[in-house]
């Protein structure tokens, strides 16, 4: 068994940022990740990271924009921290070696982003996530951090209401390992793979959230799934909102900039939920182009496209066969981001002592019902850092708790049992069925009977999942068995999303019900909390939204 003071699970931006904070103080923190850190999905973030720097801008304006963007479901005490600490965090990244594009005055250049009333998104061409991920990774190396990579975490271990470590499966050797720790941070990212047509990496299977709820830690606001308005038609690969920030148009089959109908003031730069719904409406009403919408950047000119959007240009050529300098890019909405997640406070703490979460896996909540573009990267560094600081404080008085090695054996047995199963169901195929069902019936537009259909499908898949068999029985790099357990996780997450979405009888942010098209503050201005009962059934509870400065108003753009 391994033993460290802190175990950080996940090596994307939030995990790495927390690691830097802890290692700077010389704390014994180990990073555990199912992929090598630089393969984490933070690297795919393209457009920007928000902070108010300009003298005509203010963090208070960023604060209000974020609250409004969240459709008033975000906790305002946390959003205040997010936006007021934003500038310092960006400068800190810059100090650590992250490169941002420059403006004429020698400061950090900023571009407009959806739902922001001022151009405040800092960027590095259209690859700012990549730049930040590699920059932070380099700093993790600087502080000589131990990294257990290609380890798949299967359980949280607890003792008397306190965390005592994790169980991890070493993918390289097939060996289970107990890792005891006084504090555990989950920065395990989102669950985009619940949906077909998503922008997410294949590794984004909601593992951390599934492991958490199984350990009794509630998941909050899981019904709020962001659909990104611009993902490549055939693959769902992300096309940055920065393209619209640079001035791109959205056109329907008639060549009309249809956003004038849905968001006359903000146009293409309305928040993502608004734009995604507008696109889907155009497609549903027959004004799409082969089931897609066109994103037109041609008028920006070759030079600007090459300078500001080089990755987008290359992705469009490689994955869609379209050169955006000469042709508009066919795009459609795709599952992108999980607003919900492991319930934490603004220091990353969960209800379980010593157990923290940060980044997309966590729900602080700063994004509420809809996240604004450029706020997720900010979320990872602000709350990754805060979690690191809080863990360091916590360790001063923390005592070791008992690590029950039975937990390791239990997970080991589950793996062995699956290896021995003679079941004929293939997890890869079940996954496709689930993803397609979730896209069709728990997507941009939602309605009771369709979602009930999705639940029926989930119930069927749960039954069939008992009959999964794996081809691969070996120990070395058995990705077959890892994928089978990942499927288990997305199946659980899908059910929580669907049940939460059926429960919430209103429309708010990204959760839009055609049968309840209005926001209902009287009954639904509250967070949903999902937990599992003794039999593994999902049950729901509610908690209050922190409203400090801005009373809910109608949300128009």
């Amino acid at each position: 068994m391994l033993k460290h003071d802190v175990v950080i699970v996940g090596a994307g931006l939030a995990g790495l940022r927390a690691a830097v904070e802890l290692r700077k103080k010389g704390i014994d923190a180990v990073i555990v990740s199912k992929v090598y850190p630089t393969r984490s999905h933070s690297g795919a973030a393209q457009g920007g990271v928000n902070a108010a720097f300009d003298e005509n801008d203010s963090w208070e304006s960023h604060f209000f924009d974020t609250v409004k963007g969240s459709d008033y479901l975000g906790d305002q005490d946390a959003i205040e921290i997010l936006t007021s600490e934003a500038p310092a965090n960006i400068l800190d990244l810059q100090r650590m070696g992250v490169v941002f594009n420059r403006n004429e005055l020698g400061g950090i250049a900023q571009r407009p982003f959806g739902g922001q009333s001022f151009p405040r998104s800092c960027y590095y061409a259209d690859a700012v996530g990549h730049m930040m991920l590699h920059g932070l990774f380099d700093n993790v190396l600087k502080y000589k951090t131990k990294i257990l990579y290609e380890y798949f975490v299967t359980s949280l271990v607890t003792d008397n209401g306190k965390v005592s470590g994790v169980v991890a499966y070493d993918i390289k050797t097939g060996k289970f390992e107990g890792i005891a720790a006084k504090a555990v941070l989950f920065a395990t990212g989102g669950y985009g793979q619940v949906y077909s047509s998503n922008t997410n990496a294949l590794i984004n299977t909601g593992d951390g959230m599934a492991v958490s709820i199984k350990a009794g830690v509630p998941l909050m606001d899981m019904e709020f799934v962001q659909f990104h308005p611009t993902t490549l038609k055939s693959t769902g690969i992300l096309v940055t909102e920065g393209a619209r920030g640079e001035g791109a148009y959205l056109l329907n089959s008639l060549g009309v900039r249809f956003m004038s109908k849905y968001a006359p003031k903000a146009m293409e730069l309305a928040p993502r939920d608004v734009v995604a719904r507008a696109e889907q409406t155009e497609i549903n009403e027959g004004r799409g182009v082969d089931g897609a919408i066109l994103l037109d950047v041609r008028h920006l000119g070759k030079e600007r496209i090459m300078e500001r959007l080089p990755q987008i240009m290359q992705l469009s050529i490689d994955f869609e066969g379209v050169n955006p300098i000469y042709e508009p890019i066919p795009i459609r909405p795709g599952a992108h981001y999980s607003m919900g997640g492991i319930k934490t406070d603004y220091n990353g703490r969960t209800v379980l002592e010593g157990y923290y979460s940060a980044g997309e896996s966590a729900c602080v909540s700063v994004h509420g019902a809809n996240r604004l573009g450029g706020n997720s990267l900010l979320d990872t560094v602000v709350f990754g850092r805060r979690a690191g600081i809080d863990i360091a404080e916590y360790l001063k008085n923390a005592t070791e708790s008992k690590f029950d090695e039975l937990a390791v054996r239990k997970d080991e047995e589950a793996f062995e049992k699956l290896k021995k199963s003679s079941g004929k169901e293939r997890h890869g195929l079940l996954k496709s069925e689930l993803q397609e069902e979730m896209r069709a019936d728990v997507g941009v537009f939602r309605e009771e009977s369709a979602m009930q259909r999705a639940l029926d499908k989930i119930t069927e898949l749960k039954e069939r999942a008992k009959n999964i068999g794996v081809d691969d029985k070996s120990k070395t790099f058995n990705t077959d068995i890892v994928e089978a357990f990942e499927f288990d996780n997305i199946l659980l997450i899908a059910e929580i999303i669907a049940r939460g979405a059926i429960l919430r009888k209103e429309s708010r942010g990204a959760h839009y019900r055609t049968d309840f098209p209005e926001r209902n503050d009287e009954n639904w201005l509250k967070h949903t909390l999902a937990t599992l009962d003794g039999k593994g059934n999902i049950k729901f509870d509610f908690s209050e939204v922190a409203i400090t400065k801005f009373k809910p108003q109608p949300r128009t753009y």
Partner: protein, 331 residues
């Protein structure tokens, strides 16, 4: 249309040596090699092992040899490969040991990244202040001024910070083939990236000194493969050449490679000719000369003995002028 995927297979638990296994699958327009491998794995054979993550050419997980060339499987379309090769032949990357199937052990690659100290050394004073505190109403934080020009070698489509550490260059690198301890293109490009960073405050030049040690930047064989095979359009070899220039400018000339370059420049500047014996002596010293003896002897047998005394070439004046101009350009 049905096509064939021929995959390199090796499982250390059961196989004495690697073999190839063929799978037949249907393609569709826009299908990538990664799509094909996922289809094989989920429908036909779950034991086929490979790494993958983002499927959009930014994470670097799925690098492998596709029809003999190191590429990202997610970015490579099936169509053109079939047209050219008639099938999809997939093998693990070269220059690293195979763990299983298409998965290589990347430890040595990442160890080399760590070796070059991939982070800013020291800190510029104007950037040292810490601005963390909750902002009050109306409060702003001022930022340090860095002009665009200071980052001109770091921002742009094809520049070194865009490296995704996918190991395609490392797998194709001629230098690593000859010397497995050689740092390789990705690590050296990263070394260049940090040495170019205007915020770096490497006062004693330790970064360049370390990079000049044996197995470092002077072990590049200039085969250009790294540039040719980079899926992100970066040219590590250009960075390496710039590192060479910079070390010599900074008089970091303890390595054989740099002595070699300096000696060649000197010889041509003085006589217009290459004094091979002197260059060999300047680069490797007496022991270098002794090491070169068998080669010199072989060359002698073929009648290729360098002259012991060099005559000045006729157009020596032109050469002097050219050197002068280069000097002025420097200044």
């Amino acid at each position: 249309m049905e096509f064939k995927v021929r995959a390199y297979r090796f499982n250390p638990e059961t196989d004495e040596k690697p073999y190839y296994k063929e799978y037949a699958i249907e393609d569709y327009p826009g299908m990538t090699v990664l799509n094909a491998l996922i289809k094989v794995k989920s429908e036909l054979d779950g034991t086929l092992s490979f790494r993958r993550s983002c499927r959009s050419a930014i994470c670097g997980s799925c690098a492998m040899k596709i029809n003999g060339i190191s590429k990202l499987a997610c970015k490579t379309q099936v169509g053109p490969e079939i047209e050219k090769f008639g099938m999809i032949n997939v093998e693990p990357l070269a220059n690293m040991p195979v763990i299983r199937d298409l998965i290589v052990d990347q430890e040595s690659f990442f160890d080399k990244i760590k070796e070059i100290k991939p982070y800013l050394l020291g800190q510029r004073e104007d950037d040292a202040h810490n601005s963390f505190h909750p902002l009050k109403d109306g409060e702003k934080i001022s930022q340090p001024v860095y002009y665009k020009s200071e980052f001109q070698n770091l921002t742009g489509n094809n520049d070194t910070p865009n490296c995704i550490l996918c190991e395609c260059c490392y797998s194709e690198c001629g230098g690593v083939v000859g010397n497995p301890k050689y740092l390789g293109p990705a690590a050296l490009a990263k070394l260049y990236r940090y040495s170019e960073d205007p915020r770096d405050n490497d006062k004693n030049g330790s970064r360049l000194v370390n990079g000049s040690k044996p197995d470092g930047m002077w072990d590049c064989v200039h085969c250009q493969s790294c540039e040719e095979f980079c899926p992100k359009g970066i040219s590590p070899v250009k960075s390496i050449v710039k590192l060479h220039e910079r070390t010599i400018k900074n008089s970091i000339t303890f390595s054989a490679g740099s002595k070699h370059v300096v000696s060649i420049a000197k010889s041509i500047g003085e006589t217009g000719r290459l004094d091979e014996i002197k260059v060999a002596f300047d680069s490797g010293g007496i022991s270098g000369l002794i090491n070169d003896l068998p080669m010199a002897f072989g060359a002698g047998l073929k009648g290729k003995i360098p002259p012991l005394r060099l005559k000045l070439i006729k157009d020596m004046e032109d050469i002097r002028l050219a050197y002068k101009e280069l000097d002025l350009e420097e200044k």
